[in-house]
């Protein structure tokens, strides 16, 4: 993965999101040791302190847990927590932006729902 350095999202947020995606996709299993800040720093060419900040966000949210002297591990309920968080935060934010933009453009509620349904169907067709 390439980090987006144009400043739209802080690097440490991108790191934590990349780690979440790795956990969701099953690349890192529960109770498995996650990358250290130094590994992440090397992988993404960033300062280890930035990588540590990304890891700490996940630890604070209980997605990772620390084992003294051993590093950080994936919590047993990590996937659940990530999904819940993404639903609550990310999706909600996107919906909020969607609604705001549609109001700007004067798009009616029904029209918006229709658009959502269309996109979903397109997605189904692709599969």
């Amino acid at each position: 993965m390439k980090l987006n350095t144009d400043g739209t999202k802080p690097l440490y947020v991108q790191i934590s999101q990349w780690l979440e995606t790795e956990i969701l996709s099953g690349n890192i299993q529960k109770d498995e040791k996650i990358y250290s800040q130094y590994q992440l720093a090397e992988m993404f060419n960033i300062n280890p302190a930035t990588a540590a900040k990304g890891l700490n966000i996940l630890a604070d949210e209980g997605i990772l847990y620390k084992r003294r002297g051993l590093g950080m591990f994936v919590s047993p309920r990590a996937k659940e927590k990530i999904l819940k968080k993404r639903k609550n935060d990310t999706l909600r934010q996107l919906v909020w932006e969607l609604v705001t933009e549609s109001e700007h453009l004067g798009v009616e509620e029904e029209e918006l729902f229709k658009m959502i349904r269309e996109v979903k169907e397109e997605g189904r067709d692709d599969k």
């Binding site: 400043g7 690097l11 090397e42 960033i46 302190a49």
Partner: protein
Amino acid sequence: MSIIECRDLTKNFGKIRALNNLSFNIEENTITGLVGRNGAGKSTLLKIMAGYLQKTEGEIKVWGEDPFNNLQVSANMIFIDDNMPMPQTLSLIEILEWGSKFYKNWDMDIARGLLDYFSLAPGHFHSHLSRGLKSTFNVIVGIAARCPLTLLDEPTTGMDAAVRKDFYRALLKDYLKHPRTIIVSSHLLNEIQDILEEVLLIREGAKYLHMSISDLKEYGIGLLGKKEILEKIIEGEEVFHREELGKDTYYYVIRNTLKDQKVQEIKLAGVEIKPVTAEDLCVYLTAGKKGGIDSVFNGK
């Protein structure tokens, strides 16, 4: 632990004040970016840390000692810049070999490896190298010396984009393996920001801000919208930058202290919120004259 402690550091060159009451600490094993416009005093500050120049007033301590004319500091420090004097009568490889005799932690394998990677012929002489290659060779010395305090003053001057990228990667990799305190000065924050932990921004010889790079990236926020709406929002806020973008449309950069609630209100009012890159923010913060370059042409 703080490796460098500055209190009210002032440096005069004759009547010109190069540094003005600078106070800050640099923590051990961090990479700090020293940022500022040309002439802001970056090189002077680094040379005082290196013990090359003498402070005029105030206090500077490097490992608790005054660095000026200090052998212990010199033995633990390396200062690299693009007009670093290098022996004219020694070949590149000989210079590196002498480096290994002087510095305790010198890594000759890395030095040879980097020399080879950057296609510098070991038998060449420093004075025959182009500007970019000179800089490349100097940073090889800087990395290989593995000094607990590594000062790099505009290290990438003259290097092409590919070499710059490789150099910063090499610096980071070596830092990960052998943590040390690194201070890099540059007026191009973009190219160094990823590997930084801290940023020290100086303006006209004085400290403007000193914070972690992630805080700096969220320090400012850009607002784009209609003039009258914006003017209401920015009331009481710290404004870093103002730009007229079209009829009635303005772009403001203010300090990012807005609460989520207010952000949503602003968005609803039709104002676009844009993140401000650290580089742009530094340009705004260190801008010399209000109104920027345009004011010259507007005949004001």
